[in-house]
Symmetry: C2
Subunit: 175 residues, 2 copies
């Protein structure tokens, strides 16, 4: 089991990324406070070749020093757009045929392991570090997905949640 050098990993170039077929998943960040979390969202979205990231409300946008620190260049590969209002993005994407999923703990959420991917491309909405996805945005979503947790704390860090959800859905849509 010899560790591989970076050059042996044969990652694709930014140009090839841009021209490649994407994983049919869009990430929406609803008023995320920390630019480090935004950068991490880019890095994870790059790894799973996500279609696009919407940065909504107060969510920072590139160029930004903190985003750069955790994105490590992945803002060049992953397509992104800023939008003032998260609800308008959600409505637009639903009209375009996406199944919009808020990642939230709600009264009738679907546990991530029970979520079945459908024919529709997916949108996953992640919320603010303290307040989560706004209730008004939750109200516009098709479904809420929850990451099952059996510990003492209420939630996972948003960067970790994005990793967990994108890995799980990336695997499901590629099956």
């Amino acid at each position: 089991m010899r560790k591989l050098k970076n050059s042996e990993l044969e990652r694709i170039s930014v140009d090839n990324f841009k021209n490649s077929k994407k994983t049919p998943i869009i990430v929406v960040l609803d008023n995320v406070r920390s630019a480090l979390n935004v950068g991490s969202a880019f890095r994870t979205s790059d790894a799973f070749r996500i279609e696009k990231i919407y940065l909504c409300g107060i969510t920072s946008t590139p160029p930004n020093k903190e985003i750069r620190k955790s994105a490590l260049g992945s803002t060049n590969s992953v397509e992104w757009e800023h939008a003032e209002k998260t609800d308008e993005v959600v409505l637009k994407l639903r009209k375009e045929g996406y199944l919009v999923c808020a990642i939230e703990q709600v009264s009738n959420s679907v546990m991530l392991n029970n979520f079945k991917s459908t024919e529709k491309p997916l949108v996953v909405v992640f919320g603010n570090e303290v307040n989560g996805v706004q209730q008004s945005v939750v109200d516009l979503c098709d479904v809420c997905i929850e990451i099952p947790q059996i510990g003492t704390k209420h939630s996972l860090n948003i960067s970790v949640s994005i990793g967990v959800v994108l890995w799980d859905l990336f695997y499901k849509v590629n099956q």
Copy 2:
């Protein structure tokens, strides 16, 4: 889909956590540089009720201000121990009957989605932010697990990797 209050999530207390049956997975951090990543490892390990965390080599230990910032109290629930040498921890746990898995990109790694959980309890070893798991430690492991990635960057952030791997294995060992 009404957002739940923290009190409605019915999380367990620290005492109940300590007395509860754990997920049969141990996390080993091999010379992790950032205390924020260590705190995140605690928070994620709390969420999936992980058995124990070994903090090896230069990896920071509680109490630590940066760990506290991202662990948010989960250092009180999750059992941990510091060890000078990662290889000694790996050898000890293998002797105790654990299947020890390095999370690394190596010449014959098993992709995470192809990894089947066995009867044995698991150990997952995560490495330094720049250098990964030391080759000498990889050499002592039973298997290397790799998170499939199809982007431009070489790897995921370690906090995100821990989330992805623990979620995937937590789900598999509970099936």
